[in-house]
């Protein structure tokens, strides 16, 4: 467990939960890799006003954070007009939550992106004056125009790219579909921005596409959520900003070493949300693959790693994967290793050992299936496949109940009538509020941690 030598910087640790025992001929190794960073001196609570971000940062590295807030100003934001007003208020609340010294900007998004504050391709440094000016500028925001989220992200990237800071973060708010650019345009923008900054995305109201918002959050390693009631925006924005202010270390990468002849079947973040990282691998040398994890504050995340190793004789032991948390050196030097854990494979003829399923692996396998069942069930429901929707959502209810995922169980209960949670017997509700369905869809990937 490598540490940051600097005071106040978070310490990372890795724990591996697995059943390392394989039967004769067994090849698949599953492990839950729990990464915890702690001791950064910043909690997810409200940051103390006036605390300097640079004081907590390692010397010789860029310090501080930069945040760009992207506010949807498309014409639909005026229907109802409270939406625009709430968006302004929410952005103001986020600006108020900025820690002193944080670089920031506000961008208005329509079919084009425009700088609202401070303008001129620059970022402002948060203090009482700039906060007041930013809020003054927010009053001039007017709804009108289309929606092209890709252009907002590209502008945010330009602004953030000019800042000499370690943490770059965006907050994106939309209320409608991404109608004024092609999905490919958005995809290209996301690809261009991935790894350059992290971004939380929020959909307000019920006229936006869940897939678009979650795609932004997923690609940019942030969170996605629905704010069905615009009046809840301010609190949500403040919370998001607090979270962003709590980030201490950016560009943290999960690096997996696997032996020759082995293949990584999948790598998923499984807590706090399910996020498949398998396709995000970048090769980092012989048998090394890097998976992005974004920036970290005081938090803990779990990853499910599945490796298929070449089989070996009973009694052999093999390292199936070495999971390291690293910060790549942008200059191409040796990356800094923050922590490391070992995933092992041991072949045994003890059936009791090889058939046992690690509780963590079982739990997160269930959580991943839960997210998948919700997605499939809602898809089937939309396409009018009542039987398929009932079966999948029933399975989701069963999994949520069995794993103690009460938040998801409550959301499911708004979409289906639960007859018996234990067996997964449900009936589709005849009428479902759109907001409830979208909430379930957006939050389907939220998981609970294993009960220890």
């Amino acid at each position: 467990m490598a540490d940051f030598p600097q005071a106040n910087a978070p310490r990372f640790s890795i724990e591996v939960y697995q059943n390392e025992f394989l039967p004769e001929g067994g090849r698949e190794v599953n492990a839950i890799v729990t990464v915890t960073s702690s001791g950064g001196g910043t909690t997810s609570g409200a940051p103390s006003i006036g605390a300097s971000a640079s004081a907590a940062s390692p010397p010789g590295r860029p310090t501080g954070a930069a945040v760009v807030v992207m506010v949807d100003c498309s014409g639909s934001m005026d229907y109802p007009p409270t939406k625009m007003r709430n968006a302004r208020d929410a952005t103001a609340a986020a600006v108020d939550t900025l820690r002193d010294g944080t670089a920031f900007a506000v961008v208005s998004g329509t079919h084009l992106a425009a700088e609202v504050y401070p303008g001129g391709g620059r970022l402002a440094k948060a203090d009482a004056t700039t906060r007041a000016c930013a809020k003054e500028a927010l009053r001039r925001l007017r709804a009108g125009g289309g929606t092209a989220i890709g252009t907002w992200l590209r502008l945010a990237d330009r602004l953030l790219g000019g800042a000499d800071v370690s943490i770059r973060h965006g907050i994106l708010l939309t209320d409608g579909r991404n109608e004024h650019e092609t999905p490919e345009d958005l995809r290209a923008a996301l690809d261009a921005c991935a790894g350059r900054f992290t971004c939380d995305a929020r959909g307000v109201g019920t006229d936006w596409e869940v897939e678009e918002v979650t795609a932004v959050a997923s690609a940019l390693l942030g969170t996605a959520d629905i704010v069905a009631d615009p009046s809840g925006l301010a609190a949500d924005f403040a919370r998001m900003m607090e979270n962003a202010m709590g980030k201490e270390v950016a560009d943290v990468t999960l690096r997996l070493w696997s032996p020759v002849g082995a293949e990584i079947a999948f790598v998923k973040q499984v807590a706090p949300t399910v996020e498949d990282l398998t396709g995000r691998r970048t090769e980092a040398g012989a048998r090394l693959g890097d998976y992005p994890t974004g920036s970290w504050g005081d938090e803990s995340r779990d990853y499910h790693v599945c490796v298929r190793v070449p089989e070996a004789a009973v009694g052999r032991e093999m390292l199936a994967a070495r999971a390291s948390l690293i910060i790549p050196d942008r200059a191409g030097g040796t990356p800094r290793t923050l922590a490391q854990g070992l995933v092992r494979a041991v072949w045994t003829d003890d059936m009791a050992a090889s058939t046992a399923i690690n509780p963590q692996v079982a739990h997160y396998t269930g959580q991943a299936e839960l997210a998948e069942a919700i997605r499939q069930g809602l898809d089937a429901r939309k396409s009018g496949d009542v039987d398929g929707a009932t079966a999948r959502l029933g399975r989701a209810v069963q999994l949520a109940a069995a794993s103690g995922n009460q938040d998801t169980a409550k959301l499911l209960a708004k979409v289906v009538d639960v007859v018996d949670a234990a067996t997964g017997t449900v009936r589709l509700k005849a009428r479902v509020a759109e907001a409830d369905e979208m909430t379930l869809e957006t939050r389907s990937t939220k998981t609970v941690r294993v009960r220890k």
Binding site: N19, E317, M318, L319, T348, D349, A352
Partner: protein
């Protein structure tokens, strides 16, 4: 093939009085007094500078506290009818050195007794607890144990006639325990041949004529290999410091995978075997010097319980602390059997303390994370004319006489399901050992062992031989004493390390399904080194 059917033999009739045993009884109801051989003072080695002859101290009476203690009831000559073992049929290997559920008896003796037909047999050693009020002849090691007919070719079997030693006496001093003196003066002062050498631990090595050496295999469960060596699996020269090949990922051999240790008078070999991924066995061999300057040789073998967490640490801790304890207590003059008893208790507390240690929650195997570390233990001490064994669990000690025409014997009684079934008379040995529960052990060292019952026994071999102390990884492939004797090379007494290697090789040839650990401890008679048959 299996001449040794201890339970059945023992349960048939008493070796001394021919009184039938009741089923399940582990000692004669007629003459069940604890037979205690008071050992003679150990011989002196020629090399010993100090010529002082130091008597054995008494083996303290084992307290009855705990419910299972068997007091070493002193017996006086003439108190019980004498035993005429010469003409009596004795059971084949009724080695019942201890009642499995009893605390150790005090020193007992065995001695092969030549019968007509010249087949040597072991007399029962210390057949268990007392059954007061039932008179009966004592088993074979009574004072009347004279060579029977047909013993001409055998070594003098009975020490009985020798003055100064009363085999019927308990170690406790009493009238008639001729020649036996408790070590009255503080043994660390008066009895230490190395006098001034006693260091802070009372077993300073420098001044001991024989010195002592301890061998504790291994230092940890995952000692990395030398980084300069190429991978044993793929020959890549990049082996990471944590012991895995950076190319193919295969774990490199660890220090504990194969361990060998040889000292003067004892050798041990331990091997991971062919089917287990790590060696959860451990051993400790050492030698020290008794207060009179004569040597005492120690061998301890431990087998980690695989269904518990960190079994490798348990065996390492147990073997180490038992060995250390004996190294401390024997030079002080503690009776070897008492020392063995206490050493097992010391090992048990060492294993117990692992349960609270760090890493309890670190091993996440769901099938094993509930059980605290545990292991078995079998040990032997050769001190003077006395051979003491002690055990908990299913690790064993065998006696193989150098003259292979004499019968070998098993000196221990497993704490195992099968042994319990057999001793309770519920199953035949063949049935019991064919059952899948056969190897479930009923006694172990570990925090979850509800009642620790260290078994010890003392023997007084009448001929040179070799003690094989081993884990079940060996005896699964040579269960019967005669099989063990067949596998053990004839020159094991003079080449103990070679003998141990051959035994380990026998287990590996048989499949090596478990870790294999063997200690070979030659037991010489007066003529030192007279080993080979």
């Amino acid at each position: 093939m299996t001449p040794q059917i201890p339970q059945q033999a023992a349960c048939s009739k008493c070796p001394g009085c021919e009184e039938p045993f009741e089923s399940g009884d582990l000692f004669c109801g007629a003459c069940g007094y604890d037979l205690s051989a008071v050992p003679r003072p150990p011989r002196e080695r020629p090399a010993v500078a100090s010529g002082t002859r130091v008597d054995w101290p008494e083996a303290p009476l084992v307290s009855e506290a705990g419910g299972s203690g068997v007091p070493a009831t002193p017996q006086r000559p003439g108190e019980l009818p004498g035993t005429d073992s010469g003409g009596r049929e004795l059971p084949i290997a009724p080695l019942r050195p201890d009642r499995p559920d009893a605390l150790p008896v005090s020193a007992a003796a065995f001695s092969p007794v030549r019968q007509a037909g010249s087949e040597a047999r072991f007399g029962p050693a210390a057949p268990g607890g007392p059954v007061p009020g039932v008179p009966g002849p004592a088993p074979a090691c009574g004072p009347g144990r004279a060579p029977g007919p047909g013993t001409a070719s055998a070594p003098a079997p009975g020490p009985g006639p020798e003055p100064g030693w009363s085999p019927r006496s308990a170690p406790a001093p009493g009238p008639g325990s001729g020649g036996f003196q408790p070590a009255a003066p503080g043994p660390r002062v008066g009895g230490h041949p190395g006098g001034g050498s006693a260091g802070d631990d009372g077993r300073g090595s420098g001044g001991h004529p024989g010195g002592y050496a301890a061998g504790h295999p291994g230092t940890g469960p995952a000692a990395p290999p030398l980084p300069t060596q190429p991978c044993v699996a793929c020959r890549a020269d990049r082996v990471d410091p944590d012991g895995y090949c950076g190319h193919c990922g295969h774990a490199q051999p660890r220090e504990r995978d194969h361990m060998e240790r040889e000292l003067s008078g004892v050798a041990a070999v331990s091997d991971r075997g062919l089917r287990h991924h790590r060696n959860e066995d451990s051993f400790a061999v050492s030698s020290t010097t008794l207060p009179d300057g004569s040597p005492a040789v120690i061998a301890i073998v431990c087998d980690g319980v695989s269904s518990a967490t960190r079994p490798d640490e348990a065996s390492l801790a147990a073997a180490g602390s038992a060995g250390e304890y004996l190294l401390e207590s024997l030079p002080r003059g503690t009776h070897p059997q008492q020392a063995m008893h206490e050493a097992i208790l010391a090992a048990a507390s060492a294993v117990d303390s692992l349960a609270a240690g760090p890493g309890t929650a670190m091993e996440h195997g769901p099938h094993r994370h509930r059980n605290p570390p545990a292991c078995t233990l079998a040990g032997a001490v050769a001190a003077g004319e006395l051979l003491v064994v002690g055990w908990v669990g299913d690790s064993r000690a065998y006696w193989i006489p150098d003259d292979r025409s004499g019968p070998p014997a098993r000196l221990t009684e497993d704490d195992s399901w099968a042994a319990q079934m057999v001793s309770a008379g519920l199953m035949s040995e063949a049935e019991a050992y064919a059952d899948e529960r056969a190897h479930a052990i009923t006694g172990w060292l570990g925090a979850d062992a509800c009642e620790l019952e260290p078994h010890t026994a003392a023997f007084k071999p009448d001929r040179p031989g070799v003690v094989v102390v081993c884990t079940d990884g060996l005896w699964n492939y040579a269960e019967a004493p005669r099989e063990m004797a067949r596998v053990l090379p004839p020159d094991a007494a003079s080449r103990p390390l070679h003998g141990a290697r051959v035994l380990v090789g026998h287990a590996l040839d048989g499949g090596g399904h478990d870790n294999v650990t063997v200690a070979v401890l030659p037991f010489a008679m007066r003529r030192r080194g007279a080993g080979s048959a």
